[in-house]
Amino acid sequence: MTNQISQKQLSIIIGAGFTLTKIYVMPAFLSNIASESMWLCALLSIILDFFLLSIVLKTINNVNNAPLYDVGNALYTAPVNKCITLLYAIFFMVKAFIPIVEQKNSIELTFYETEPSLLTFMPFFIVAFYVIIKGFKPFGRSYEMCLWVYLFGMLSILLLSLFAGDYTALLPIIGENPTRILTGFLKSLIWFGDPIYILFFSGYISNIKNKLKGLKKSYLIYSVTTISLLVIFYAVFSTIAPRQYYATLKMSKYSIALSNIGRFDYISAFMLAAMCVFQTCLPLLFANLCLNKCFNFKRPFVAPIIVITLEVVFTVLLQNSFLTTIEFFSNYVIWFFIIMNYILPFIFYLTTRRKSYGFQAG
C-alpha cells in the first residue's frame, strides 16, 4: 500500500505536532481559569491522553493494524459503521476549526502590523486541500523534513524565554481553590485527545516495530515540552497571563539577548507557524478519510472540497467571535469531544479485545 506512514513519522507527529496546537490560546485560557495552577490542568489532560494512547496502541495491535473502517464493518452492521464514521468526519471537522482560527489569528497578530484582510489566510486552505488530496505518505515525509525546523523554533523560543520569567509566580502550586484545576482540566479537553489521530492511522502504518511502544517515548517528549512551555509562559506573564492570547510565539521578546541583537525570535515564530500548517491539516486528513469511506466518492477531490469548503465557511462566519466560540466549545461541545475522543475509542478497544477476528493487516 503506497499511502502509508512510517512509525518514525508517527513519532514525530506525536513528539512535535501534538504540542503545536496547544501554544496559541490554551495557555491564556487556562490561566484565566486556574491562574498559577494552570499547568496542572494540562498535566491532568496529558495523563488522561496517555491512557488514551495506551488504549489506541492496544487497539491497533488487537486489530493487527487493519484499516479502522474494515474493522468496523466486521464488528458492527454496515449502517452503524457508516453512522459512526460520519460522526467522526463531523468531529474531525469541528476539531480542526479551533487550530485553524488560532493559526489565522496568530499569523495576523504576529507577522502583520495592521489588521490584514481575510484573503491573507486563504492560501492555507489551498495548501490544506493539496495536503488532503496527497494523503498520508507525503504528509508523513513533510513532517519528517520539518522536524529540524520545529526543533530550532521550539528550542530557541523555550531557551530565550527561560530566564525572562519569575518562577515563583507559579506558587502556591495548588492554591486556595483546587476545584478550578478540575474546571480547567475539563474545559481544556477541547485542545487534547490527540492520540485519537493515531487510532485512525490504523491500516496505514508501515513496518510496525515492538508493538508501537516507541510512540510512548515520543509522547513523553511531547508531555515535557508542553508542560515546560506552559510553565515558562506563566512565569513570564504571571498575573496578566489571562490576557496573553497568541503570546507564546512572542514570549521570548523579553530576553535581554534580543534587545541587543534584534528580534530574531520572529524566525523561530515563523518556523513554528509553518509547522502548525501541517498539524492543522491532520484532522482535515481524517475528516476526508471518513467521508470517503462513508460515501465512497468516485472522484478523489469531492471529499476534500466538502471538508475545505465547510472549514472556510466556519472560519469566515465565526472569525470575529472566536473567543465566544471557544467558550461555547468548552462549555457545551466539550461533551461531544469527550465522547468521540475518549468514550468511543474505549468501547472500540473493549469490542476488539473480546474476540480475535483475524483482521488482515493494512
Binding site: L119, L171, P172, T239, S259
Partner: protein, 402 residues
C-alpha cells in the same frame, strides 16, 4: 480534457498571482506610516493629550536617516487620541516600534493604570516598552533637545539601558512589569522619575526639534529666537505606586539600594565619608562590583518578618584626598572603617525604603505576594495588616573585591 484542466490551473494561478503578489488589498504605504518611537501622555481637563515622537520613513532621501517630528493630539481616551493622529496628519500611527512611554506629572494624582491598560488591551503594541514619569509635562520633555540624540525620546531611552539588570541607578519598569505587579496580590508599582538637567549648550540647525506638524507653544527649555537649550536627563530617582496611584518617591541612594536587593547588580557607585589607614577623614567613591542577596519572609509571632541578607564586594574607585601607595597599590582595598561605613550606608537606605513602603502602603518588597506564595494558609489572616505589622532584620556584609 487535459487541455481544459490545464487552462483552469492557469486561470487559478493568474487570479492568485494578481491577488497576492500585488498586495494592494492589505498593506499601507510606508510613506503614510507614522512609526511612533516614544509616546508622551499628559492629563488634560477633557481627557488625555498624547505627544508622539515619530520617525518618518523618508522615501525621497537616498540616505536612511529619519526626519524627526512631534505630533500632539487629544482625546477623551488614549485610543481616541492615538487614532486622531491619522485624522490630523494622514499618517497611520504604528505603535509596535514604541519603546518608551513617558507619563507627565499631571497623571500623579490619577490611577496610571487608566493609561497603561491601553497598552495591554491592544495586541498591536509591545508591552515590553519602558514606562517612566517626568517632572512637568511629557510633551515638554519630548520637545526638548538633547546632545545625545536628535530625537529626545531616543536619547532618554539610552538612560534606560537595555541590559537593565546591570544598571543599578535606574530602576526601570516595562509596561508588562507594571501591569503584572498591579494585578498581583501586592498591587504595587514603580517607575523611574525623570528630571531634565539644562546644559550650557544651545541647539543649532539639525539639533533643533522641528514641531512642524503642530503649532507648538515655546517650551520652558526653549530660548528666544528659535534656539533651544540642550538638556540631559536624570532618572536615578523612582516613584512608588499603590493600587495604581502614586504614593511616594525614593531618593537616588534609596533607589540604588533597592536595586541591590532586587537585582543582580554588577556595578554601582556611591560616596561615603570614612577614615583611611592613617586616620584621615575623607570622601571615598565606593564601587560595588558584585553582590549576592537573600530575601526571606518568615512569620514570627503572627507577624511577617523580612530577613534581608546582602553581601557586597566593593573597592575604592576614587577619593578626594591623596592616598598612600599602600591603598593605591592594593587596588582600592577597603579598610574596616570604610567597610563599616559602606554597610551602614546600605542598611540605612534599605531601612528608609522599608519605612516609606510601610507608610505609603506601596508593597515594594512584595510582602503580600510572598505571604500568598509561601504562607498561603496564613495569607487571609495576615494580608490586611501585613505592611503595618512588618518587622525586618537586615544584615549587610561588605567584602573587598580582590
Amino acid at each position: 480534457m487535459v487541455f481544459k484542466r490545464a487552462k483552469i490551473y492557469v486561470i487559478i494561478f493568474i487570479g492568485l498571482f494578481i491577488i497576492y503578489f500585488t498586495q494592494d488589498y492589505t498593506l499601507i504605504n510606508i510613506e503614510k506610516t507614522a512609526l511612533i518611537v516614544t509616546l508622551g501622555v499628559d492629563k488634560t481637563e477633557n481627557g488625555y493629550e498624547i505627544t508622539s515622537q515619530i520617525a518618518v520613513p523618508d522615501g525621497e532621501s537616498t540616505k536612511t536617516t529619519n526626519k524627526e517630528a512631534v505630533i500632539s493630539s487629544n482625546g477623551k481616551t488614549l485610543y481616541e487620541a492615538v487614532s486622531s493622529i491619522s485624522d490630523k496628519t494622514g499618517w497611520y500611527p504604528k505603535l509596535s516600534f514604541c519603546n518608551l512611554i513617558v507619563l507627565g506629572e499631571s497623571l500623579k494624582s490619577e490611577n496610571v493604570m487608566d493609561v497603561l491598560l491601553f497598552f495591554i488591551r491592544s495586541y498591536k503594541i509591545e508591552d515590553s516598552a519602558i514606562v517612566c514619569t517626568v517632572k512637568g509635562q511629557a510633551k515638554e520633555l519630548l520637545l526638548s533637545s538633547s546632545p545625545l540624540d536628535n530625537i529626545s525620546g531616543l536619547s532618554l531611552s539610552k538612560i534606560f539601558v537595555k541590559d537593565y539588570e546591570n544598571a543599578s541607578r535606574v530602576y526601570t519598569a516595562s509596561i508588562k512589569d507594571f501591569c503584572t505587579n498591579y494585578y498581583s496580590k501586592s498591587s504595587f508599582g514603580y517607575m523611574p522619575y525623570v528630571k531634565t538637567i539644562p546644559t550650557d549648550e544651545s541647539g543649532e540647525g539639525g539639533k533643533t526639534v522641528s514641531a512642524s506638524t503642530t503649532t507648538e507653544p515655546e517650551t520652558g527649555a526653549q530660548k528666544q529666537g528659535g534656539e533651544q537649550q540642550l538638556v540631559i536627563y536624570d532618572a536615578s530617582t523612582c516613584y512608588l505606586y499603590n493600587k495604581g496611584y502614586y504614593v511616594t518617591e525614593l531618593t537616588s541612594d534609596e533607589t540604588l539600594c533597592l536595586s541591590l536587593i532586587n537585582k543582580k547588580v554588577k556595578e554601582a557607585f556611591f560616596t561615603i565619608t570614612a577614615t583611611d589607614n592613617d586616620g584621615v577623614l575623607g570622601e571615598y567613591l565606593i564601587d560595588i562590583l558584585k553582590s549576592t542577596r537573600k530575601v526571606d519572609l518568615k512569620i514570627e509571632n503572627d507577624k511577617p518578618t523580612l530577613y534581608i541578607n546582602l553581601k557586597v564586594w566593593a573597592r575604592v574607585s576614587d577619593a578626594n584626598s591623596t592616598e598612600s601607595m599602600d591603598i593605591v597599590s592594593n587596588l582600592g582595598k577597603l579598610n574596616d572603617n570604610m567597610k563599616f561605613k559602606t554597610e551602614t550606608f546600605i542598611t540605612n537606605n534599605i531601612v528608609n525604603v522599608i519605612d516609606k513602603s510601610k507608610k505609603s502602603g506601596s508593597d515594594i518588597f512584595e510582602i503580600k505576594n510572598q505571604l500568598y506564595k509561601y504562607h498561603t494558609s496564613k495569607y487571609k489572616k495576615l494580608n490586611l495588616t501585613a505592611l503595618e505589622d512588618l518587622q525586618y532584620k537586615i544584615n549587610v556584609t561588605c567584602l573587598n573585591y580582590l
